[in-house]
């Protein structure tokens, strides 16, 4: 290895050490502030935030099939007035309500909050003055972070599907006052930044069970903030992971790259040119034939003529010279 190459390798090694020493801590600190800000948006007590915010939402569907006024406190619906039209009997409106004693728990919010708290916990576990000894250590922490953030996001974006009878027997349904009749069910869940209210009506048609559903939704402002911040944090983690991997790989691979360049003189350009000509069957250059040979010939002269070039070779086939 020449002096230049040695210097380059040394520079890359220093860069890698800088990434481990300074950059990782700086990015973790940034991540921490983003995630704590995200935690404070949650209406539940999370990471020092005492929040028990209360929000009121109105959910209606067109055309006036269902109407619901909901009070969301923390991660549960503490109060709701629900009314919806029963499909079978056109003029019947079913009314029910949720009150303080039996709130409807939105497990998704609690799950997302817990995953977020776990992610913050991973960063808190790293001491500010800790010196990382290898890129694997950093990668492990980043993997855990990415996992938690992904799970937090998925908890809000993808609601867990429940079978209809599971829903019917669930605690939340049983807490409705008054209890709904056997063939009706309602459900509240979160999907992305919306709170969705669905009614299910079971009817038995010729022996088979048919489920009709009708839904209404409304946007919850703090959810969109939270989702955006989770995405931003995941992106930052991915960037740190890439930096770490690249910096770690750069150090040994540069040595290989430099020695390769000295050995090979065939460039990519040369190879591509040759391949192109070979494919179309054309001669890549002039083929030297004396006029004497050509004029005397009434013969098909087909020859493989090869010409050497420095560092590569081209192959061509001469065309047929018809005799007259």
């Amino acid at each position: 290895m020449t002096d230049n190459e040695k210097e380059e390798a040394a520079n890359l090694k220093e860069e890698f050490e800088w990434v481990l020493r300074e950059e990782v801590h700086a990015i973790l600190h940034q991540l921490h502030s983003v995630l704590v800000e995200c935690a404070h948006r949650f209406p539940v007590p999370l990471y020092g935030n005492e929040g028990q915010k209360q929000d009121k939402f109105i959910l209606t569907s067109q055309p006036e099939q269902l109407k619901c006024i909901v009070t969301l406190t923390g991660d549960s619906i503490t109060h709701a007035d629900i009314s919806f039209k029963v499909l079978r009997q056109m003029h019947t409106i079913c009314r029910t309500s949720i009150n303080q004693d039996g709130p409807w728990k939105l497990q998704q919010i609690q799950d997302a909050a817990n995953h977020l708290q776990q992610a913050i916990g991973y960063i808190d576990n790293v001491d500010k003055h800790y010196i990382f000894r290898s890129s694997d250590e950093v990668l492990h922490i980043i993997q855990c972070l990415i996992g938690s953030l992904q799970r937090a996001r998925t908890a809000l974006v993808l609601p867990k599907k429940k079978a209809i009878d599971e829903l019917m027997n669930s605690r939340n349904m049983k807490a409705l006052s008054p209890n709904l009749p056997e063939d009706l069910a309602i459900s509240f869940y979160i999907q992305s930044h919306k709170l969705i209210f669905v009614t299910y009506q079971l009817t038995s048609v010729h022996g088979t069970m048919r489920i009709d559903s009708c839904q209404a939704d409304c946007a919850v402002p703090w959810l969109s903030d939270v989702l955006w911040m989770l995405t931003a944090a995941s992106h930052m983690c991915q960037q740190l992971k890439d930096k770490d991997i690249v910096a770690d790989e750069n150090v040994p691979t540069t040595e290989y790259m430099i020695t390769d360049e000295i050995k090979n003189e065939i460039t990519m350009h040369d190879i591509m040119k040759v391949l192109k000509y070979m494919k179309i069957g054309k001669a890549a250059g002039y083929d030297r034939f004396s006029s004497e040979m050509l004029s005397g010939c009434g013969v098909i002269v087909a020859a493989c003529c090869t010409q050497w070039q420095i560092g590569g070779f081209r192959e061509g086939v001469i065309g047929v010279i018809p005799s007259l």
Binding site: Q110, H115, N125, N169, R171, S290, E292, G296, G298, C305
Partner: protein, 497 residues
């Protein structure tokens, strides 16, 4: 899942051992099988010699797509050698340890962080008590992997951080003791007839204590009156009756606790993220049957560090190792072991009993790594390969020799001289690319060099013709050359040179 297509997976291995950053470890009760799960989702089964505790990796089970977080026994029946594994993606599998087949697999929407296999009072076999990233405790069947029933909370429902199932000595029921991530301790009492219809099953009692994000909860098996709860920064002993703190041990600086268990009514073993085990003797106020039990903390009587179980070389680990404490029985003898699987794929076993004496501070473990065993396997295999190749080479060499000696030899002669079948000789010669041309064996395929030479010669002839038109002289000298034309009959014609 029944299907008509059989997909046979093929795995190709190279010279280098696969990385095996251990995320969970399990040793069977008879000390014959060790199982380690890793962060890539693979599970390695090791064969262990029960006497010497020497470990040899036997096979790798591939299937999970996320880190394997839990490994548990599946059956107490002697001949049933099955384990259950669970990953961070919610995949659960039941594996047969003898042939490595996956007997059952399921993907749940709930992700487990801990599974305890427990024999309930009126069931035939074990049941899995699972807790994880969900607000209930799930009880599952280890072979069908279906959720039998679940335990829910009434007070402050939240994720369950740690649980322990036990049978109190004076009672006939099973008691589930659990703590949620916000520090609410809950107790469920199971009578044995619970099923899906009896849901929701709420806790019998609950109490809020100041212990957030507990990592493990263990009730003392010897007297069931004290409980060890391990958190990251400290571990505490509680009185099982009223859940009041009796004593607390802080983690050494730079390390965090991972988990621990009771060794006896007055000794505990706790291990840290650096992969070290610490044996402590509890103060008098934390030991039941002691005069000062449940008394206030006395200044001069604090937990005493008896010994430390660590690796003598103390190498750097890139992530906290997976550790486990268990009691095994081999040949009537009970053994208490601490296992550790680290990020390099090295598994170490300590015999806790030998470290109990206050004299020894570092107990040297028995450790074997995946990479070491892989390397010795590769050497063995390459030796075998060479032996096989040598077997065939002998014949080939003899035939080639004969041809080299005399290029005009016939294949029948070769066959006669070497005592082989004629056909064998021909096959070998074909393989060595010899053909007979004009009664002589020549290597049929022109080597690269030969081709290049021919081309070089043609080229130089053409160039030569430019400098000195020898072709001209050739033709005029002779004045006679034959042209073959499809349309005309062959006739000599004059050259128009």
């Amino acid at each position: 899942m029944p299907g008509t297509n059989l997909i046979v997976p093929v795995v190709l291995w190279g010279k280098h051992a696969p990385t095996h950053c251990v995320s969970s470890v399990y040793l069977s009760r008879d000390q014959k099988t060790l199982v380690t799960g890793c962060y890539d989702g693979q599970i390695c089964i090791w064969q262990v010699n029960p006497e010497t505790l020497k470990m040899t990796p036997r096979c790798l089970l591939v299937g999970h797509t996320a880190p394997v977080t839990c490994l548990s026994r599946a059956s107490i029946i002697q001949d049933n050698n099955f384990i259950v594994s669970s990953s961070e993606a919610g995949e659960m599998c039941t594996w047969d340890l003898i042939d490595g087949k996956c007997r059952e697999s399921v993907k749940l929407s709930q992700i487990h962080t801990n599974i305890q296999a427990y024999h309930m009072c009126n069931s035939d076999d074990l049941r899995l008590f699972c807790n994880g990233y969900y607000a209930e405790i799930l009880i599952m069947d280890p072979f069908s992997l279906e959720i039998l029933f679940s335990l829910s909370s009434k007070m402050n429902p939240d994720w369950i951080s740690a649980l322990h199932v036990l049978r109190p000595s004076s009672r006939k029921d099973d008691v589930v003791l659990a703590i949620s991530i916000t520090g609410t301790v809950k107790v469920w009492s199971l009578l044995g007839h619970e099923n899906k219809q009896s849901e929701p099953i709420y806790e019998n009692e609950s109490k809020q204590i100041r212990c957030l994000n507990a990592l493990s909860l263990n009730c003392c098996a010897y007297n069931q009156r004290t409980v060890l709860i391990v958190c990251a920064k400290y571990c505490q002993i509680y009185d099982a009756g009223d859940f009041s703190v009796l004593c607390s041990i802080t983690a050494p600086s730079g390390e965090r606790w991972m988990s621990g268990d009771f060794l006896s009514p007055d000794r505990i073993l706790v291990w840290s993220t650096e992969g070290k085990g610490y044996l402590y003797k509890l103060p008098a106020n934390s030991v039941p049957d002691h005069k000062g039990f449940h008394g206030p903390t006395v200044d001069h009587d604090s937990p005493v560090l008896l010994s430390m179980l660590a690796h003598p070389d103390n190498k750097l680990l890139s992530c906290p190792p997976a550790m486990r404490y268990l009691i095994t029985s081999v040949g009537g003898k009970q053994r208490r072991l601490m296992l550790r699987g680290d990020s390099e794929g090295v598994v170490s076993i300590w015999n806790v009993d030998e470290a109990n004496t206050p004299v020894s501070t570092f107990t040297v473990p028995l450790s074997v790594g995946v990479a070491q065993s892989w390397f010795s396997l590769v050497i063995l295999m390459s030796k075998m390969n060479h032996a096989l190749v040598d077997l065939f080479r002998d014949e080939d060499d003899a035939i080639s020799e004969k041809v080299e000696e005399d290029r005009h030899i016939s294949s029948y002669d070769i066959a006669e001289k070497l005592g082989l079948d004629h056909k064998t000789v021909l096959t070998h010669l074909k393989k060595a690319r010899y053909t007979k041309k004009l009664e002589t064996w020549v290597p049929q395929e022109l080597a690269e060099r030969n081709l290049m030479n021919r081309v070089l010669i043609c080229d130089s002839l053409l160039i030569h013709n430019q400098t000195e038109p020898f072709l001209k002289t050739l033709i005029t000298d002779d004045k006679k050359w034959i042209i073959y034309n499809k349309r005309d009959i062959i006739a000599p014609s004059r050259s128009t040179a």
